[in-house]
């Protein structure tokens, strides 16, 4: 089974500095680490390979120094590393990133499973995993907390939800994004570190992967970051009493009065 793990470099600090003109993160001059959520993706990829065999490839898009971070992943069991690095990719939003990564994946070719972390700790969008699946035209499951079964052409996994989990089956190839509950990433081994030191990371440009430069980087990024904030979840619950029929009626009236319904749903009621 060929597994591709997508990782992102993020600033090691909590004090993220923004470029005021583009509202994108300034990455230069700040110590970079692999997005912590992606380390669970790496571990899961390596575990699947160890269990059923195959090859793991780590893929990232970023500045040339990301090569060193990708080498670190080879100390914990990743076999090969590919970095997409080109001025054309700079300033990419989650759409342009999904596009570039999907082109990189197509270039790598033969793949069965793509594993991503649930989100990056700097941007927090959680969009690239699903975006990638759409660009590749393959199914995806987000927030995977456990893989129940995986074999040629098939995966069954548990998707974490706020109040439990869903069991989802997909044909492969597919994309999963994983949560930290899925495993405990291993520490590197000395043999792995020695291997990583000697490892060669393949660096590909936009041209190498045949990417359309209009869809890459700042040019291919329609997202306008107006402001960033943590949304407040302040949900008021109201319990509707009565027999089921009564409850349904009250609920329908309530929804209608709130004008959430469309003409279609009114007809149904």
């Amino acid at each position: 089974m060929n597994i591709i793990v997508c990782v992102k470099q993020v600033p090691a600090t909590n004090e993220v500095k923004m470029n005021k003109e583009t509202n994108t993160i300034i990455r230069e001059g700040i110590e970079a680490i692999i997005n912590p959520f992606d380390t669970y993706a790496i571990e899961e990829g390596v575990r699947i390979k160890e269990k059923i065999g195959g090859k793991t490839t780590v893929l990232s898009m970023g500045i040339p120094s990301v090569v060193d971070l990708l080498k670190e992943t080879m100390a914990v069991g990743i076999d090969e590393a590919v970095l997409l690095s080109d001025r054309t990719f700079a300033g990419a939003d989650s759409l342009a990133t999904s596009y570039a990564l999907s082109m990189g994946i197509k270039k790598i070719g033969d793949y069965d499973l793509i594993v991503c972390g649930k989100q990056a700790m700097d941007g927090d969008t959680a969009q690239v995993g699903p975006g990638l699946a759409e660009k590749l035209g393959i199914p995806h499951t987000t927030y995977v907390r456990k893989i129940e079964e995986i074999k040629e052409g098939y995966i069954r996994c548990q998707r974490m939800t706020e109040d439990g989990y869903e069991v989802i089956e997909m044909p492969l190839p597919a994309v999963i994004t994983v949560v930290k509950e899925i495993n405990e990433p291993r520490l590197p081994s000395l043999k792995g570190m020695m291997r990583a030191k000697r490892a060669v990371v393949t660096v590909l440009t936009a041209k190498d992967i045949g990417a359309d430069s209009d869809l890459c980087g700042l040019k291919g990024s329609p997202t306008q970051v107006v402001k960033t904030f943590v949304p407040v979840h302040d949900v008021q619950s109201e319990m509707i009493e009565g027999e089921p029929e009564e409850q349904a009626e009250k609920l329908a009236k309530k929804l209608l009065s709130m004008q959430f319904s469309t003409s279609d749903s009114t007809e149904v009621i």
Binding site: R186, L187, S189, L190, K191, M193, M194
Partner: protein, 385 residues
């Protein structure tokens, strides 16, 4: 200070430091209180390949020496001097095989020690044989193709947890110091059991047990070197591994210093952090001076040992005395800097102070080390004449 470590040594140190900070620090207090053996950490160390740093590549190791072992011990000891001992004592048990084992011995035992699949231990001390190792009562008698061992070893680190033991026993009482021999004994051999497990002041995550031999029959091939070489096997092994104890002491001292320094910047009295007071500053400076001096001596001694130099007893003893005396002094001062908080188990320096004490005692007390150093000095004087 930059010690110009090789790229591989730097990697070993970084990996050991990562394990110490991420895996050992969070559990050090728990193991100290419970006094139980840290199987989970030993597994992590095994998975990390660190057990192989001082073992030859032909036996599945990394081909390093005492320096590589010491770097690991130092880093692990920063987090816990007891847990690091499971690693260090395995080295002490392995070195007689590395130094005196036949090719068969090495092929049979070293790969498992290098991978961490099996721990080793070294059995020298007995109830009446401490500083005076010649007081060993355990006997080994050749009977056909087997040696029959009888006696009890005391205070053996990794006792009961290790699978491979190198044991010193008396094969000819009449020959005095030349009447001892070294043997490899495997756990599970009939007649070999484990006695009392000690309840210690410090290094409580390390297991210290009796090895009990009752008509324990081992193949005669398990003899290391020749009959009568036991004392030399033990002394040559200890000469090489003493910098390992020194590294343990150094790590404990560094760990305590780091805590004290951090605390001094956070603790506010008289509206100022206590690090702004000269009394504290001078204590911190003295601690740092001693630690750096100890590190210089330990690292350089390791390099000397690994160079293959024959005469290393004096330097090896010096490194052990200096580093362990430093550890005791620094940990006491760390507790002092942290005051009442330092005395409480909530903060790690109290444990470090208890852990430090053993480094002045075992693998030859610091008094015996000074004897060794003085004897070498006097010997040097005589040869000059």
């Amino acid at each position: 200070m930059n010690y110009y470590l090789t790229e591989e040594q730097q990697m070993i140190k970084e990996l050991a430091a990562k394990i110490a900070d991420e895996k050992i620090k969070p559990v050090a207090l728990k193991y100290d209180e419970e006094g139980t053996f840290p199987h989970d950490i030993v597994k992590i160390l095994a998975d990390s390949d660190l057990f192989g740093v001082y073992i030859g590549e032909e036996y599945g190791g990394f081909g390093g020496g005492i320096f590589e072992m010491a770097l690991v011990v130092e880093e692990l000891s920063r987090a816990c001097g007891g847990i690091s001992l499971a690693f260090a004592a395995s080295g002490l048990g392995a070195f007689p095989i590395i130094l005196y084992g036949t090719e068969e011995h090495k092929q049979k035992y070293l790969p498992d020690i290098a991978s961490g699949a099996k721990l080793a231990a070294f059995g020298l001390t007995e109830a009446n044989a401490g500083s005076d190792a010649a007081g060993i009562q355990t006997t080994a008698v050749l009977d056909g193709d087997e040696y029959v061992l009888n006696g009890t070893k005391q205070w053996i680190t990794n006792g009961g947890e290790a699978e491979i033991y190198t044991v010193i026993a008396c094969t000819n009482r009449a020959k005095g110091a030349r009447g001892f021999s070294a043997f490899i004994v495997e756990k599970g051999t009939p007649g070999f059991s484990f006695g009392k497990k000690e309840n210690k002041m410090g290094i409580r995550a390390s297991v210290t047990s009796e090895l009990v031999f009752e008509d324990c029959r081992i193949p005669k091939e398990n003899l290391l070197s020749r009959e009568g070489m036991g004392f030399i096997v033990a002394m040559k092994t200890l000469d090489r591994t003493r910098p390992g104890v020194a590294a343990q002491a150094l790590g404990i001292a560094q760990g305590a210093f780091d805590e004290a320094l951090k605390y001094s910047g956070e603790r506010v009295q008289f509206n100022k952090p206590i690090s702004s007071f000269q009394a504290i500053q001078h204590m911190l400076a003295d601690m740092a001076i001693q630690i750096e001096a100890a590190r210089c001596l330990v690292y350089q001694t390791c390099r000397l040992v690994d160079s293959g130099e024959k005469s290393i007893s004096k330097e090896s003893a010096m490194s052990k005395v200096f580093a362990s005396d430093t550890a005791m002094k620094v940990t006491i001062d760390a507790v002092q800097v942290m005051g009442g908080y330092g005395y409480m188990k909530e903060y790690p320096v109290e444990k470090m102070m208890r852990d430090a004490k053993i480094t002045q005692i075992y693998e030859g007390t610091n008094q015996i080390q000074r004897n060794v150093i003085a004897l070498e000095l006097i010997k040097g004087l005589k040869t000059k004449k």
